[in-house]
């Protein structure tokens, strides 16, 4: 009659097996928790951009979300960042499920929790202007990104249609010198325009101007509002 315990011990001795060190398992566990945390953080950053885009679009577009046609409202949300938020929520679950006892949590619960945390944390990040910074960074480094997003910078870079935005550099009488979002310099006639900035447009910094294009780099303003 074979004795299993003796066979097992003999094989362990013969193969010179030793238990793998505990630090290996602790490390593996920590890595997956970190990946899950990182996913939630990236999801939060993505949501901060979504929030930035939606709020910026509605504010600088001069219309509330409820007044917008559905297409415009949909354009206000950068779909790519919304998808990123969801992908990161799913990857958070993948991380959690590979931790020691992660299998005990329901996938949908983990994903819902990751989305909820991403939304909460993303709102806080938006408060610190992280959404705009991330968008600006990606737009500056990935040209393809600009063509797939319809964030207000684009909306306010259509002087032929009466929308011009950028940084107010200086004022000379009723003429405003403006550096548009695409980097071109403009001369804007402010005479008679409704100005709703706190202080002068130069003090405001980025402004959104409505009006009419009058030349290659000149514009007649009807209204000048803060771009925020």
């Amino acid at each position: 009659m074979r004795k299993l315990d003796e066979d097992v011990l003999a094989r362990i001795a013969k193969l010179g097996l030793k238990p793998r060190p505990a630090i290996l398992f602790l490390g593996r566990n920590a890595v997956f928790w970190c990946l899950a945390g990182l996913s939630v953080l990236l999801g939060a950053a993505s949501f901060a951009v979504v929030l930035f885009a939606a709020i910026d679009y509605t504010q600088t577009g001069g219309r509330g979300l409820d007044e917008m046609p559905f297409d415009d409202a949909a354009m206000a949300l950068p779909v790519i960042w919304g998808i990123c938020s969801l992908v990161f929520a799913v990857s958070a679950w993948l991380g959690v499920s590979r931790t020691g006892r992660g299998y005990r949590y329901r996938p949908l619960l983990v994903i819902a929790l990751a989305i909820a945390i991403s939304i909460g944390l993303g709102t806080i990040l938006y408060g610190f202007d992280a959404g705009r910074k991330l968008h600006t960074f990606v737009a500056a480094n990935f040209p393809a990104y600009q063509s797939y997003t319809a964030i207000p910078y684009n909306e306010w870079s259509r002087p032929d249609l009466g929308f011009l935005g950028g940084e107010a550099l200086s004022i000379d009488g009723s003429s405003l010198s403006l550096k548009a979002f695409d980097g071109t310099l403009w001369s804007v006639d402010m005479a008679g325009a409704e100005i709703s900035t706190d202080g002068t447009p130069v003090e405001e910094g980025d402004v959104a101007i409505r009006g009419t294009r009058t030349g290659p780099n000149s514009f007649k303003a009807v209204s000048i509002a803060p771009f925020d």
């Binding site: 299993l4 315990d5 097992v8 011990l9 094989r11 097996l17 030793k18 238990p19």
Partner: protein, 198 residues
Amino acid sequence: MTGQESQEDAELVARALRDAKAYGEVVRRFEFVLKRYVGRILGGHSGHAEDVVQDSFIKAYVNLNSFDRRRPLAPWLYRIAHNEAVSFLRKRGAGPLLITGEDGQLLLDRLRAEDTGFTLCQRETDGGNLDAAMADLEPLYRNVITLRYLEEKTYDEISDILAMPPGTVATRIRRGLQHLKTLYASRLDRERDGHAQT
């Protein structure tokens, strides 16, 4: 599984980590239940159960430090043995689990005792039809029913063994029983039709 048993398991594992010979006690304590369980998974290949269990114990020894000592040892060992058995079957391209007539009768008795709705058959012994119904059942349901009604594991233990949320275990058991009842009833109908024709 009581807290005291969990503590005993933790002490046993601690001893085995210090001295490989103490691991023999782990093998002796769990070899019977693991052989029985692996035999149930392997079905027609149950002659290989001892080899699979031996491999499982070796794998468990190498990964002993990954065992959470606040938890009972049995589900952790069952999980390793389950994975080894499934891997064994996969390598051989083997078919579904086929429990023996003895297990079929045991399963039927326990299903009746737990008021699971298995009152279809008036006969006291009809394990054979249940064996066949179990063989037709999808593996995801067969696994949980085997663990719940043949190995008598709790939902929590099954969750640890099959690495799935306890809620999913409960759902699979409920659905598995419904499927099993349907399959079992159709077996009985076919048997009845056969008798009527003769």
